[in-house]
Symmetry: C2
Subunit: 248 residues, 2 copies
DNA sequence: GATTGCGAATTTGTCATATAATTCATTGAC
DNA sequence: GTCAATGAATTATATGACAAATTCGCAATC
């Protein structure tokens, strides 16, 4: 009966291409669609559709709709109650560290405000992460950190991707803390760095940046927490300064 | 045909009482059950059951099982693929800031190690949160902070619950940052505080603690970020010290 | 013997329909 | 006016069927 995939949309842009490329199934497509719509305020004022409405609108079965809504519930975006229907939760309930939610947020507004919020968090997390890494890192993790630094050096000469190497370095520090909570910030840090270059692509003061990153690595290697913290704070502080300048 | 709720379990303890009390539906019960089991390593070595097995074992329909698994997927605990089955993800993929995951973790091990990890994070987050609060708080938020402080004072005289007032104070600081990412730490901070008293119930140096908290509030009111940061760092630092002593 | 191709089996993914449970609104009795 | 009974709307659960994707074994070929 139904031969063509009836994946289509109401308000958000159609992501059929992305859908095909990533081989998303219908539940995942539905999840993305609803997530994006919620995050971009598509249901403010209007009540969230019932399961039946959603199913009809998007040409999928109720099972698909329900499972997508369940996932949204698990991420804190909505809350479903019998008879009352499904309601969108206020943003404070959203799981901001979820990779999907972050993606939807950026999709909505790669705004300076969001970038500032990211980096306000980074300046709390990463210096302390560097300090913890200085204390708790294993030899293998130290090698990874140095590898990240080497990649950044390569990026100087064009032999590697600057963004990827930057992410690799910061992520390696997070893991070296050996604290599972710090490791959770990987998607956020990666996202923040990716977003940064969109706004401040002029900041190719990479030579200075490379030097700063080297200082962090050295302090971690020396198992000097205070120094590591300071060095990392300088890196993030510089970024934050640039962003604040962008605003003012 | 089926008259009695067939909610029962295999390896984890039966939470029928909790189930009734919180009026959990079957999907939520299933979610809790699977979540606890996964977090406590119940599926290490053995493959995760298929949908049909789970449904049979727990006497629920495949819908319920599937929706529970979907929620676990959304929280990063498992990954389902056609024909390959559902696999448990490594802990680094788990969404550690999810309230459910936190609860399951504590249910497994209210361990000193976990408590230390919590507070290693708090010492990054909360001092910076206090600094941000000093800059960005609104009048209403300042009132909430002072209310929290007042409750702590009441707790001194037994007029209020010490734990609840402590949580209220710290949470009010988080919200005063006006940064949605900081607000996400509410469940973690609350959990950390709740867990603390189990271990360090001797720390009823509340008079000292009250004084320290007052210093934070004052610095925030004065819009003095550096002072707020320092005062908060002292509070968490003291806790961390106690925990580390407990280990050594 | 190694590789490629094909088909069967397995498991999640999707659909359709029916029924239960819960809650809100309305109506009616007192 | 208050309270209980009734009904309606919506999610929750059950059931059975089929689709899609991936693995695995087997066979054919080189």
């Amino acid at each position: 009966m139904r031969r063509i995939k009836p994946i289509t949309v109401g308000m958000v842009e159609i992501d059929l291409a992305e859908h095909r490329k990533r081989k998303l199934n219908r539940t995942q497509t539905m999840l993305n669609l609803l997530g994006k719509t919620i995050v971009s305020g598509g249901y403010e004022g209007v009540p969230f559709p019932t399961e039946e409405e959603l199913s009809k609108t998007h040409g999928v079965s109720r099972s698909v709709t329900r499972e997508a809504v369940k996932m949204l519930t698990a991420k804190g975006l909505v809350n479903a109650r019998t008879r009352q229907g499904t309601t969108v939760q206020p943003p404070s309930h959203w799981n901001m560290f979820d990779a999907d939610v972050l993606r939807w947020l950026l999709d909505r507004e790669p705004s300076l405000e969001l970038l500032r919020h990211f980096n306000q968090l980074r300046i709390a997390i990463e210096p302390e992460a560097a300090a913890l890494a200085a204390i708790h890192h294993t030899d293998a993790q130290m090698l990874l950190i140095e590898a990240g630094l080497a990649r950044m050096a390569d990026a100087e000469t064009g032999a590697d991707d600057p963004l990827a190497s930057d992410i690799a370095f910061h992520v390696s520090i997070l893991h070296a803390t050996r604290n599972p909570f710090y490791e959770q910030f990987e998607p956020m840090v990666a996202t923040a760095l990716r977003t940064s270059i969109r706004f401040t692509n002029a900041i190719k003061g990479h030579s200075a940046s490379l030097c700063d990153h080297g200082a962090v690595a050295q302090a971690v290697a020396d198992r000097d927490p205070a120094m590591a913290r300071e060095a990392m704070r300088k890196i993030i502080g510089d970024v934050l300064e640039l962003i604040d300048d962008g605003t003012a």
